[in-house]
Symmetry: C2
Subunit: 311 residues, 2 copies
C-alpha cells in the first residue's frame, strides 16, 4: 500500500461530506481506517487497482434516478485498466436532499447548483417551488454547497451534513421526490481472494454481479442468457446495460442475482451461461445488505471489513 498512514485507507468519491463519504463511514470503522477523497469515480477505481488504497467506495444506483452510468462504464473496463478490481461489499444510504443557501429565503435565489442526479431526484419539488430558477450542473452535491457558500444569490441541493460543513442555511429539507430515496454503493477491492467467503448457516444471502455481452447477430441471445438464471433458480435483483463501444448498438449487460459465485449451483449456471454469452466477467460476490436493512444493520457490527475479517 502506498499510503503513509499506519492504518489501511479507503478511497471514496469526494469531496468530504459527500454521500460516498457517508457510505464509506457506514462500512468502515474510523478507528481502524483512514479515508481519502478522490475527485472522480475513475480515480477511486485507479487507486484501488494500483493498490494505493485498501478499498474504494463508489455509488452504483439510486432508487429514484437509476444507475450511475459512470460506474457502469468503469466496470465495462473497455481499456482493460481495472482487471483486478472487484466488488466485495455493498451498502445502502438513505439520501435526503436539502436546499441550502446563505440567503434568508428562496425568493432571493436566482441560481441553483447541484449534481444532475440530485436535480433529477428533486424534480417535483423544483417544479412546484423553483420554476424558472436557473439550474447549474456541477460535479457533486458537496461541490455545489461549496460554490454557494460565497454567493448570496445562489442555492445548492445537497445534504444536511454539507450545510454544517459550509455554514449554510437549510431553506427546505427533504425535498426529494420519493421518501424512499436510497443510493446503493459498492465497496471495491483489488484482490478477488479478499471477497467475502460463502456465508453458511447464518441465514444471510449473498449476491453476485456479472457483466457479459451477447452476439447481437443471434436472435434471442439475451433471452437465452437470462433463461439460464431462471433454469438454475437464480433470482435476478438488477439488470442494466451500456453501449459496448466496440460496435454501435451493441451492449454490455450487467446482471446481479442472489447467490455466491463459489456456490456449486451458481458455478453450474455460469458454465451454462458461457454457451450463450461472450466476455463473461464475474465482478464480485458480496453480502446482500438490502435484505438486512429491515433488521437494524446500522446497529450491528460494521460490515465488509470493520471487524478485521473479510465478511
Amino acid at each position: 500500500m502506498a499510503s503513509t498512514s499506519p492504518l489501511p485507507s479507503v478511497a471514496y468519491l469526494g469531496p468530504r461530506s459527500s454521500y460516498s463519504h457517508q457510505a464509506a463511514l457506514e462500512c468502515f470503522d474510523p478507528a481502524k481506517y483512514t479515508f481519502e477523497p478522490r475527485a472522480a469515480i475513475a480515480d477511486v477505481f485507479t487507486a484501488v487497482q494500483a493498490g494505493a488504497v485498501a478499498y474504494g467506495v463508489v455509488p452504483f444506483e439510486n432508487s429514484t434516478n437509476g444507475n450511475v452510468v459512470f460506474t457502469l462504464d468503469l466496470f465495462c473496463d473497455r481499456t482493460r485498466s481495472f482487471r483486478d478490481t472487484f466488488v466485495c461489499g455493498e451498502t445502502y444510504l438513505d439520501v435526503h436532499h436539502c436546499l441550502l443557501s446563505s440567503a434568508a429565503s428562496l425568493s432571493s435565489v436566482a441560481r441553483i447548483y447541484s449534481h444532475p442526479q440530485a436535480f433529477g431526484q428533486c424534480e417535483n419539488w423544483l417544479s412546484a417551488n423553483a420554476r424558472g430558477v436557473e439550474r447549474i450542473d456541477v460535479s457533486s452535491t458537496s461541490k455545489a454547497a461549496q460554490i454557494v457558500a460565497g454567493d448570496a444569490g445562489a442555492a445548492a441541493i445537497a445534504s444536511r451534513v454539507a450545510a454544517d460543513v459550509h455554514g449554510l442555511r437549510v431553506l427546505a429539507g427533504n425535498i426529494e421526490d420519493s421518501a424512499d430515496n436510497t443510493t446503493r454503493f459498492f465497496v471495491l477491492v483489488a484482490q478477488p481472494a479478499l471477497r467475502a467467503p460463502v456465508s453458511k448457516g447464518h441465514g444471510e444471502t449473498d449476491k453476485t454481479l456479472l457483466s457479459f455481452t451477447v452476439d447481437h447477430e443471434i436472435p434471442g441471445a439475451l433471452c437465452d442468457s437470462l433463461k439460464v438464471f431462471k433454469d438454475f433458480g437464480l433470482n435476478l435483483t438488477s439488470i442494466a446495460s451500456r453501449p459496448s463501444r466496440l460496435l454501435p448498438w451493441n451492449y454490455v449487460f450487467f446482471v446481479e442475482f442472489v447467490g455466491h459465485s463459489d456456490a456449486q449451483h451458481v458455478q453450474a449456471a455460469l458454465d451454462e451461461l458461457k454457451k450463450y454469452c461472450l466476455n463473461l466477467r464475474i465482478l464480485g460476490s458480496y453480502r446482500d445488505e438490502q435484505r438486512r436493512r429491515g433488521q437494524g444493520y446500522r446497529d450491528s457490527e460494521r460490515r465488509v471489513a470493520g471487524n478485521g475479517k473479510a465478511s
Copy 2:
C-alpha cells in the same frame, strides 16, 4: 393547432443549431413545416401532447453514451401527463463533436463547457489533450457554444454548425471517441391514428417500442416476459430500464423489437405478454431507419411526413 403559421410545426430540443434541430431537418421538409426550439425535452412532450405542434423531435439514444434517461423518464409518464403522445418515426444522425473557441489555441483554454453526454463521448480525446482543464456541464452543446462566444479563456464541445452560428474557431474536429458516434432521435405525435401504416411488399421493416413493469415478487418475471418475444420470433433491437419510482428497486422496462403492433403475430405476442407483465403500453410503431442507413436514405424522399403521407 395553436401555431399561427399556416404550416404545421415541429418542436425540437433547442436551441437552434442543436443536434435535435438537425435531426428535425432530416425528417421534415422545411418548405412544408416550421420548426420551434424548446428549452427541455419535457417541453417538447408537452407541446406535442397539448396539440401546440404537429410533431416533436427528441433524442433517445447515443451509440457511444447510451440512453437519454430524460426521454426514458418522460415515456415512463409517471404523472400520466403524456398519455396521447406516441412515437411515429425515428432518425439517426452522425454526431461529430468539435472543440470550439474564440481563442487561437488550446493552450489559452482554462474551461470547457458542454453537455454531460458530449463530455462522455469525448473522454479519450479530453484525457489525452485537456487533462486538468476544468469541465462545466451545461444543458446543451449549442448552449455551450453560445456561452464561450463571449469568453476567450473558454472552449465548447459542440457541432461544426454551432461554430458557424456563433462565430467560433474549430480548434479540433471530430474529437469523439468512436468514429461511429450516432444519435437516434424519435419523432413524437399526439395521435396514435397517425402512426405509419404497416408496410407491405416494400421490403421495409417496422419496429415497435413498448414499456412495461413486472411483478418483482415473482422470480424470473422479466425472463418470462422476454421469452415471449423469442417464442413469437420477434427480434429485440433495444432494451432499457428506469426506476418505476413507485417502489424502490422496481423498474419500468423498455423493449423495442422488429415488427408492427398492427401485425397479427405481434398482436398474438402482446396478448401472451400481458400474462407476464403489468402496465404494458405500446409507445408506437415506426419504420426501421437503421436498416435503411446503408441504402442512401439521405437522398431519398423525406421520411415520416415530408411528402404529406404518414409513411
